[in-house]
Structure formats: structure tokens, C-alpha cells
């Protein structure tokens, strides 16, 4: 999903994701973080994420997915190697981005 959404909508998506992930993930997340997500979410917007909505790259914004990744790195990874695997994946993508050739339009410019 490429469209830009505001912060309370990001929280609404992360809230829906956390609710779907359930107990283990909620328990590992500090309460103050859970509070921010629950209390600052856009409840109206959140209604589009009912239990029948698949949660994936198409339905969740990039911002929400990135926030979920940060929660995984900070609180959910069980082992150092699990954390390292995700960090490597993220770094790899950053590297790919920086090596990407300029687009045709940019070349023309």
C-alpha cells in the first residue's frame, strides 16, 4: 500500500496487527507502548481492519509495517540471531536502494 497515512492511522493498523498476533506478542510489548498504540489510534479508520481483513503488504501501510519491524527488533525477537537476521534483511534493502540506477527520467535530467 503506497498511499500516505497519518500517525493515528498508522497506530490503528499496528493495533489491528497486534490484536491479530495476540497474547504472546502483546505480552512482550511494554505497556506504555501498548497504551500509545491503543489510545492514539484512529478508531474510525481502524474499523476497516476487522477480523476478516487479511493483513499483508497490500492492506497495511509501509509505515505500519516499519513500526511492526521496530517492535519485532526491540521486543519480540527471542534470540540475538533472530534479531540479526532481520537487521541484515533491512540493511540489505538499504544497500540495494543506494545501488539502484537512476530512473530513465532522472538520467534525462
Amino acid at each position: 500500500m503506497e498511499e500516505h497515512i497519518n500517525k493515528s492511522q498508522v497506530y490503528a493498523e499496528v493495533y489491528a496487527a497486534l490484536s491479530a498476533l495476540g497474547g504472546e506478542y502483546i505480552r512482550k510489548t511494554p505497556q506504555k507502548v501498548l497504551d500509545v498504540i491503543a489510545d492514539r489510534r484512529d478508531k474510525q479508520y481502524g474499523q476497516k481492519f476487522d477480523e476478516n481483513t487479511p493483513l499483508n503488504e497490500k492492506t497495511l501501510s509501509k509505515e505500519a509495517i516499519a513500526m511492526l519491524a521496530s517492535l519485532k527488533l526491540d521486543y519480540w525477537c527471542k534470540t540475538a540471531s533472530e534479531k540479526q537476521t532481520l537487521q541484515d534483511l533491512l540493511s540489505l534493502h538499504d544497500k540495494k536502494r543506494s545501488k539502484q540506477p537512476l530512473s530513465k527520467d532522472n538520467k534525462k535530467a
Binding site: 498476533l21 476478516n52 516499519a66 521496530s70 538499504d94
Partner: protein, 516 residues
């Protein structure tokens, strides 16, 4: 549909149509279809098999103006609007208990059926009771509707169109899903105040009936005036079931019995609830958790368990056996004292488990926090009624323990975590002030609570239940194996982490001075 077409009906519908044709139109379908005498009373399995093959003409169905359908299944009524164009009175009821009966044995129509019922434009009187698989009802296309009775539908989330019923003179609505949304309820009461002769609503619906605004505590004065007008004034002492109030407030205990209070008592309770919240919470700048903790602490400090209720006949008026439950379970119910209700919890400071749950629900509801009442049984959950795998297993046949049937609360607005305000209060009053049963995950609460089938994901049909489980499973996998994060860079994550941390720090340093 051709005029001479012969139409077969589902058994639940066919048996009622046969009865109506015989009673009101002297048409004996048993004789016509089987050559036998008309059968009244309870039908045998063989009779029901025969009914499957009965056929009806369109003309015969057009004669039907009243149907009383019991224990119908999803899909049975999906064509009711087209089949019965002259239907004026419809009642759809079920005797099953979706909390403790295995899902395959629960009788209920589904959303497809309720959609069709919503198009029966001749309907004047509609009862929909104890249908566990319906989630919303739209009444807007029933312009002739005079009486609506929608009660004990445990998954019914939304009722709409109530403000588009100019003829409505009686509205009964209680015991539906905890988060029941009746759109424009206050508006409908104001609009129909001259027509409405009888209103019986769920206690938890009172704030909606007066258009209460949980943000600033204001309410719709016109709606309150209309309630008083319909009621013929608000009389002091109009508290219990024997009231002659025209507007009453009900809490459903099960499909057979209720606690009902008058409007004066409802107002008393509402005002006390507002006062309690004023004392235990700041007007704003509090989180959902602050509210839950404050309310549960209030209940623990002020409300005692009505231990004697089980032993005093005057308070219990005889135990009863609920459908689908072990025969010797004595429920702690008092029609007189209402110890299972929010009123006794908040006004008398004494109740049993369900009273704690309902008192907490009312208080949190006034702050706009959505919750649900959860049925359970005390003890370690070794049965797995709430496990989606068992929910969908047609061979699952658990033997329910004879333990204490219990009630707790689910905070839907906070990750669907569970609290047991009753057990918290019991511990608290014995000196353990740790409130150990506050905001627990399903896994945690299941250590000593056997959650009912309703907690398996609450659904109207098994197909969507499976679909939901698969959605959750696939999402968890994509998080676990990083598939969800494959197009992210470290910089994206860093930006979102910073944004979240900023808000977390903002809350820690919040104006109300609370720390976490």
C-alpha cells in the same frame, strides 16, 4: 418464480407454514402430501423427513401472514421476503445456548436470512431472539413495523434503521452483543415519542438512549424528556420487575429470565456511575488502562461478593437450570434483588460475578471504552472450548465440568485482554491488593478460567471462523519469517521507531503526572 411453481421449504419453515395453513386457511397439507391426518404437537424424526418433500404453491404462501419459527438454521429464511409477500408477524427464536453448546448444535439463522427479513415490507411485528449467527440488522425497509423485539442475539453488533420506523410503538432490545450499536437510538426515541407506548432496552444502552457523549459528559435533553414523556413521568421507587413503567431497562440473565429496572432506578444508577468516574478518573488525559485499573480498583474497594445469595431462597428465588448446562448447577439469580446486575453492583455495592462484570462494563462504556461480557467456568482450561481448532471440529464433544459458571470482562478496546473484576475484588478484600486478574491475555486467563465457545473468535458461521484463523496464522508466519518486512530498509524502521518513542516519552511525561 412462476405462479404454478411448486416450492419446497426448509423443515423449520415448512412445519410452521403447514400449521398456519391448517389453522387459518383450512388447508391440510399432511393429507394433501402424505394422505394422513393433520399432525399437531411435536413432530417425530420421520415426520420431519416427510416435511422436506412437501411442496407449496405461491398462492398458498401468499396467504401466510404470521410465522413463528423455532430453531431455524442459517439459510432457512434467505428467501423469506419473496416467498411471503404478505407476512405481517414474524418471530424467529431458538432454544440453544451458543456459550456452552458445541457450535454444530447451535440453531441460528445467519446474516443472509436477516437481510431477507429486512426486506419483508409488510412486517408489523418482528421478534428476533437468541440467534447467535447474526451480526447486524437493518430495519430501514420495514415502514409498517410497529413492534420490534430484538433480544439475546449474542453476536449482534449493529441495529440500524430504527429512526426510519414511523409506526413504531413498541421497542424491546436487550441481551445482544456487548458492543451493540443502535444507530440514532436517541433520535428515534425523540421522533417517535407520540407513537411509542413501550420501550424495554438493555441497561447498557441507557447512555445511547439519551445520546450521552463520553467525551464531555453531555447528553441529548430532548431524548431524556421523550423518555420521561413516554413513561408518563419518572416515578421514585419504580425499581423492580413489578413496575408499571412504560420505559424499562433490562439485563438478560439467559434466554429465560431477566433483571428489569424502572427508569427512576436507571437514572439513579447512571448518575452514581458518573459520580464514581468523576471521583476516580481525571476528566481527560487518561489512557484506557488507567480507566480499567481505576474502575477495577473502585469495585475491589467498594463492592463485596454476595456470598449468602446461594443459600438464601428469598434472594435466589430458586435456582434454575440453563439449557445446555449440567442439570444440578444452581445459578445465583435473584429476580428481586438482581444480584447479577449492574444496578446491585453500583447501587447496593453487593453482587455476584456477573454484577461485577456489568457494573464495570457500564462504567467503562461511559468513557467510550468498548467491552464484552464473557461466559466462563472457574478452573484450568483443559477443555479448549475457545480454541478455534475445536470450534471447527465436528467430532469435538466436551464434557462440561460441574464447576461454578462464572462471568468476566473482555476489554475490546485494549487488545481484547481479559479482566476478572470479581476475583480481583475477592483477593483485594482478603488483603492481596495486587489485582492479579487485570488485563490478562487469553492464554493467561485460561490458566484458571474455562472460556466459553464464544471466545473462539465469535462468529456467525463456521466458514468465516476458519477464514479468520487462517488470516491470523498467515499474518503471524509473515511476521515470524520476516516476509512482511522484505521491502523495508533500516531507515524506514528507524523513522517509525523514533516516532513511536516520541509518543511514548510524551505519555510518560504526561500532564496528569502518571508514570508507568
Amino acid at each position: 418464480m412462476e405462479n404454478d411453481e411448486l416450492i419446497k421449504l426448509p423443515v423449520s419453515l415448512a412445519s410452521e407454514v403447514v400449521r398456519q395453513l391448517n389453522n387459518f386457511h383450512r388447508i391440510n397439507k399432511w393429507k394433501e402430501c402424505c394422505g394422513c391426518e393433520y399432525k399437531s404437537g411435536e413432530l417425530t424424526k420421520e415426520d420431519l423427513e416427510k416435511l422436506k418433500n412437501f411442496t407449496f404453491t405461491k398462492e398458498e404462501l401468499g396467504k401466510i401472514w404470521k410465522l413463528n419459527i423455532v430453531n431455524a438454521s442459517a439459510g432457512d429464511l434467505k428467501n423469506i421476503a419473496e416467498l411471503f409477500p404478505n407476512l405481517r408477524i414474524l418471530s424467529v427464536e431458538s432454544s440453544s445456548d451458543d456459550a456452552y453448546q458445541v457450535p454444530r448444535n447451535v440453531s441460528s439463522i445467519g446474516d443472509e436470512d436477516i437481510d431477507s427479513i429486512g426486506k419483508c415490507r409488510s412486517l408489523e411485528n418482528l421478534t428476533i431472539a437468541n440467534q447467535a449467527r447474526i451480526t447486524d440488522i437493518d430495519l430501514s425497509q420495514l415502514p409498517k413495523l410497529r413492534e420490534a423485539n430484538i433480544s439475546n442475539n449474542t453476536n449482534l453488533v449493529a441495529i440500524s434503521g430504527i429512526d426510519k420506523l414511523p409506526e413504531l410503538d413498541s421497542l424491546t432490545c436487550y441481551g445482544n452483543e456487548g458492543r451493540q450499536e443502535i444507530k440514532n437510538l436517541d433520535k428515534a426515541i425523540v421522533q417517535n415519542k407520540e407513537k411509542l407506548k413501550r420501550i424495554d432496552l438493555d441497561v447498557q444502552l441507557f447512555p445511547k438512549a439519551i445520546g450521552y457523549n463520553h467525551l464531555d459528559g453531555t447528553y441529548n435533553q430532548e431524548a431524556m424528556d421523550a423518555i420521561e414523556y413516554i413513561n408518563g413521568g419518572i416515578r421514585k421507587g419504580s425499581s423492580r420487575i413489578k413496575t408499571d413503567d412504560k420505559v424499562t431497562w433490562t439485563e438478560s440473565l439467559n434466554i429465560l429470565s431477566n433483571i428489569t429496572i424502572g427508569t427512576h432506578s436507571m437514572l439513579e444508577m447512571h448518575n452514581k456511575a458518573c459520580q464514581i468516574l468523576h471521583e476516580i478518573l481525571p476528566p481527560n488525559n487518561f489512557s484506557t488502562v488507567d480507566a480499567v485499573v481505576a474502575v477495577e480498583k473502585y469495585l475491589a474497594e467498594n463492592v463485596t461478593y454476595a456470598d449468602d445469595a446461594c443459600n438464601q431462597p428469598s434472594r435466589t428465588l430458586g435456582g434454575y437450570t440453563a439449557p445446555g448446562r449440567p442439570g444440578n448447577v444452581r445459578m445465583m439469580i435473584s429476580y428481586e434483588k438482581g444480584i447479577n446486575g449492574a444496578y446491585d453492583c453500583l447501587m447496593h455495592n453487593e453482587c455476584v460475578c456477573q454484577g461485577y462484570t456489568r457494573g464495570e462494563r457500564y462504567l467503562l462504556g461511559l468513557k467510550g471504552i468498548k467491552t464484552s461480557e464473557v461466559n466462563c467456568i472457574g478452573g484450568k482450561d483443559t477443555l479448549g472450548l475457545a480454541d478455534p481448532k475445536n470450534y471447527n471440529d465436528d467430532t469435538f464433544n466436551p464434557s462440561l465440568p460441574k464447576g461454578a459458571y462464572h462471568s468476566i470482562i473482555r476489554i475490546d478496546d485494549y487488545y481484547c485482554l481479559y479482566s476478572d473484576p470479581c476475583w480481583n475484588a475477592t483477593y483485594y478484600q482478603r488483603g492481596d491488593k495486587s489485582m492479579p486478574y487485570t488485563l490478562l491475555t487469553k492464554e493467561e486467563i485460561s490458566k484458571d478460567h474455562i472460556l466459553s465457545f464464544r471466545e473462539a473468535g465469535i462468529s456467525y458461521n463456521n466458514t468465516s471462523q476458519v477464514k479468520r484463523s487462517k488470516i491470523k496464522e498467515s499474518f503471524e508466519k509473515s511476521v515470524k519469517h520476516n516476509a512482511l518486512f522484505k521491502n523495508l530498509g533500516a531507515s524506514d524502521v528507524k523513522a517509525q521507531r523514533a516516532s513511536l518513542q516520541q509518543d511514548v516519552m510524551g505519555i510518560v511525561r504526561g500532564a496528569n503526572g502518571r508514570t508507568y
